[in-house]
């Protein structure tokens, strides 16, 4: 009888621990999918050190051909089929990854803007931005020192 009670108590404790763990994990998992912190990086030449979110969005939508110093705006993107690419599509373009690919297909077909440079992984993307004046990109967290972090609405990450 006593043994059964002890067993029930342990079961209750284990269940409570499991419930608490679930409460802690679920929002955390949600964060990875939707609330990933993004950073705008650029080549030291071209993009200004600070931009508004609306300006960044406008640039990434192909609405600006030249930076104020005359350097060509070169958009670099992570493939929108990657998990981070999908997050960037939603957060920056307010579109699905497929929607972003369609947007660029339409805009280049109309002859309005050159297609962006697309990369499979963050290191390739970062190298490209470091090597090409006027380049700008969005990623999770920059690892190299050859790129400049562009402050968006005064913040390093958004």
């Amino acid at each position: 009888m006593e043994g059964n009670k002890r067993y029930d108590g342990k079961l209750k404790q284990a269940f409570l621990k499991w419930v608490v763990l679930c409460f802690l994990l679920v929002p955390g998992l949600k964060c990875i999918g939707q609330d990933s912190t993004l950073t705008a990086i650029s080549n030291p030449r071209g993009a200004p050190p600070e931009m508004k979110m609306s300006e960044l969005r406008s640039v990434l939508m192909g609405e600006k051909q030249r930076w104020n110093d005359g350097t060509k705006v070169v958009i670099a993107m992570l493939k929108s089929t990657t998990p981070l690419g999908e997050v960037i599509s939603k957060r920056v373009y307010s579109m699905s990854g497929d929607g972003v690919r369609g947007f660029w297909a339409r805009i280049s077909f109309a002859g309005k803007y050159d297609l962006p440079n697309v990369f499979n992984n963050v290191s390739e993307l970062e190298n490209f931005v470091a090597q090409n004046p006027g380049a700008i990109a969005i990623l999770g967290r920059p690892s190299g020192n050859d790129v400049r972090v562009v402050l968006i609405d005064g913040k390093k990450a958004f």
Partner: protein, 343 residues
């Protein structure tokens, strides 16, 4: 004489822009970035008691960045052309060399889709992007000049209203791809604004003098025609609703008939019931002046109702019913299924 001096002036302006900043040509490294794409659609249709299968134009689309300021766009179409030895022909639809001379301002030289309205300036030959299976009827009726070989100044996304302009001078109707058939030039002036996201409001003016004896769209013009086209358009492609309304008023003046006015318009509306399902309608109307002699006078009204399913951005299927009433042929009904792809 006036026309000749205008042409020379246009050429001089273009050369001045090109030469204005020679440093810009030399200070940047040459990078080439070429993309090749293709588009095609397969069709099945029911009309007059029979089912027919077919396919549309095969479109080859190339873009290339040649320099920091220079890019190229080419669009070549392979299409069924009865009467030719292979029953197919190759057609150069666009050849555009773009020079970005300052900010969002460009000089374009080559064969263009005349930026006279939203549809002609946006969709070109990639059927996968069309909101309906076919173009609005004003295209098939040759109401507007689809192509212009010439040069233009273009500006995009300027200021808060995201103002845009296209000022184009070209060979005009009746000319071929390599030379003008007369001394007159065609002039297009188009402006638009994008005051809020997904909305574009535009207007354009087109003027050309079509010489007596010119061959336009396979038809000989027996009188000199001074043509003016006034176009207005509103396009909204939002997350839920899609609306595209465009209208063109044509004024054709000849010595014998005086000024004749005709009009062509269409309204497209779509509603996304889900992200990938879009039921839509399109209403077309073509009305010709009583004394019209330049266009084929065939007053037409049409209703299109259909559904579009977007598999992904490069694969779209559409099912459509169309009822057309024309002055010459009477009532026509057809059902069409289209599978359009990009590759």
């Amino acid at each position: 004489m006036l026309s000749k001096s205008n042409s020379l002036r246009s050429l001089a302006i273009a050369m001045a822009i090109l030469c204005a900043s020679p440093k810009l040509f030399s200070q940047n490294t040459i990078i080439q970035n070429t993309h090749i794409r293709g588009f095609i659609d397969a069709l099945a249709g029911y009309q007059n008691g029979k089912v027919s299968f077919g396919f549309g134009e095969q479109d080859l689309f190339i873009t290339s960045e040649l320099h920091d300021r220079i890019s190229f766009l080419g669009e070549t179409v392979f299409k069924f052309t009865p009467g030719t030895p292979t029953e197919f022909s190759v057609s150069i639809e666009r050849v555009v060399i773009k020079y970005n001379y300052f900010g969002n301002h460009n000089l374009l030289i080559g064969k263009h889709h005349t930026p006279i309205n939203y549809w002609n300036d946006t969709y070109h030959h990639g059927r996968v992007f069309f909101p309906t299976i076919e173009r609005p009827l004003l295209f098939a009726a040759n109401f507007i000049p689809l192509h212009t070989t010439g040069m233009s100044l273009q500006g995009q996304n300027l200021g808060k209203l995201r103002f845009g302009y296209d000022f184009m001078v070209g060979n005009g109707l009746g000319s071929d791809e390599v030379s003008d058939n007369d001394t007159y030039k065609s002039y297009t002036a188009a402006i638009h604004i994008k005051p809020v996201e997904n909305l574009r409001i535009g207007a354009s003016y087109y003027n050309d003098v079509i010489s007596k004896g010119a061959n336009v769209h396979g038809k000989q013009v027996n009188w000199q025609v001074n043509q003016q086209l006034f176009t207005g358009s509103v396009a909204y492609f939002g997350n839920k609703f899609e609306v595209l309304a465009e209208g063109t008023l044509a004024s054709d003046k000849t010595d014998t008939t005086g000024n004749q006015t005709s009009s062509a318009a269409y309204l497209y509306a779509g509603f996304k019931i889900k992200e990938k399902f879009i039921p839509y309608i399109r209403i077309d109307n073509l009305q010709y002046g009583d004394g019209e002699i330049y266009f084929t006078k065939d007053n037409t009204t049409s209703f299109v109702g259909g559904i579009r399913y977007v598999i992904n951005y490069l694969a779209v299927v559409k099912l459509e019913y169309q009822h057309t009433h024309t002055q010459i042929s009477g009532d026509l009904n057809k059902v069409t299924f289209q599978f359009a792809i990009g590759f």
